[in-house]
Symmetry: C2
Subunit: 215 residues, 2 copies
DNA sequence: TATTTTCTTGAATAGCCGTTCTAGTTTTCG
DNA sequence: CGAAAACTAGAACGGCTATTCAAGAAAATA
């Protein structure tokens, strides 16, 4: 039992624990795990759990029944990755002081999603304001009219990210990144260099705004 | 052990279970409950748990360790109570098909809060759009500039609710309910009849919007 | 091939778990 | 007061739990 990668059965075991907790509201016992995975011996279950624990994927409370905890708990929330301002590089927060915004219940698919804090008024006419949280679902493709996070990649320069509406203009054979602010001009990129210089990082699926003081 | 009300110790026991689950990620054992509440006998704990179960506050899985579940699970979300449109009565959803929106992590105080779906464009210049969810924290008082849910109470008529900014105009001795739409006029109420005819139901503390199709 | 690592079984142990029972005490209420 | 209801302690039970150990099978590695 050294390091290397987590094996198939261990991944399945972890998934089962995750599902069990979600369904039953409590972690499974070692025996229940064994039963579910067709493992005949409780010692065998313990063997794999010990590995998962060494890997830091779970933690256990000695001798306590159902004493398994998932290290990364199902937060049901999306991490706030940083801020985004039109034309300026993405300002990534240090993950140490990471907040999360949680939006639940299937209204929004939060799988792998992250949130960004909007700086500036480039999308103001779409009613996305300075300080709003935009929830971004990572994807590399998008459809006309989607609000996307697009990154301009240049050699030697850190990519700069921007929040815009995406339009593919077939008749002009170019891509238009359209701000929602009549004072600002769209960015027009010839289709030929689009793929080399630009990358769609994700699409905005939700917006969240705090207002008033919480008191 | 008949019906009547839940006793002090039973309420404390329920609270402990709730806290334990939150803190430990699993329900407590009967013995842990006893220890925490200075109950010497496990049979005694079982006695009160049986009552809580009969009352429908918890459910138990026979013989299973830590087999306690709270009947109403801690949703961490705010219920969507209905829709609100300026000047029209609040349209309350039947609680049977109740959704919730969850917003977590202390960004917003969700205690007792509820959400409403905005209809119309009366607050459009504050960038609150048709279809947005507004999270409302119930309170009867508010400060100048707060966005509030105000209800007009008339005799024999069901109160009609409206979403407006609240301003107390001392020089005119009246209250102004200001829409954020220059096409709409504010509602002006003399201070003298304000308390009798109007009631502030709560204040908007957050806004949530889905956008784009989730696919 | 030989050798290490990983995986699997089975049994055993000491303690924890839910449940039940008996036998009291305290409180409530007529 | 007296009776019913609610509450409490203690013990005892069979089953479940986590953990450990010894021993072997299978797979990977060299």
């Amino acid at each position: 039992m050294s390091s290397e990668q987590t094996s198939e059965i261990q991944r399945k075991m972890y998934d089962f624990i995750e599902r069990y907790i979600k369904a039953e509201g409590m972690p499974p016992t070692n025996r229940e795990i064994g039963r579910a995975m067709n493992i005949a011996s409780t010692g065998h279950v313990d063997y794999h759990l010990t590995i998962l624990e060494k890997r830091g994927m779970i933690s256990r409370q000695q001798k306590k029944s159902r004493g398994i905890k998932l290290t990364k708990q199902p937060s049901n929330g999306v991490p706030v990755a940083g801020t985004i301002a039109a034309g300026q590089p993405l300002d990534i927060f240090p993950s140490s002081e990471q907040q999360t915004v949680s939006l639940g219940n299937g209204l929004v698919d939060t799988e792998n999603a992250f949130a960004l804090i909007v700086k500036g008024r480039s999308m103001i006419e779409d009613h996305i304001c300075d300080g709003d949280y935009v929830v971004v679902k990572p994807q590399t493709t998008c459809q006309n009219g989607d609000i996307v996070v697009a990154v301009h990649m240049q050699e030697g320069v850190e990519g700069s990210a921007t929040l815009k509406r995406f339009f593919q203009e077939k008749d002009h054979d170019r891509v238009r990144l359209q701000p929602a602010n009549s004072e600002l001009d769209p960015i027009l990129i010839p289709r030929s260099i689009w793929d080399q210089e630009w990358q769609v990082q994700g699409k905005v699926v939700a917006i969240f705004r705090q207002c008033g003081n919480a008191a």
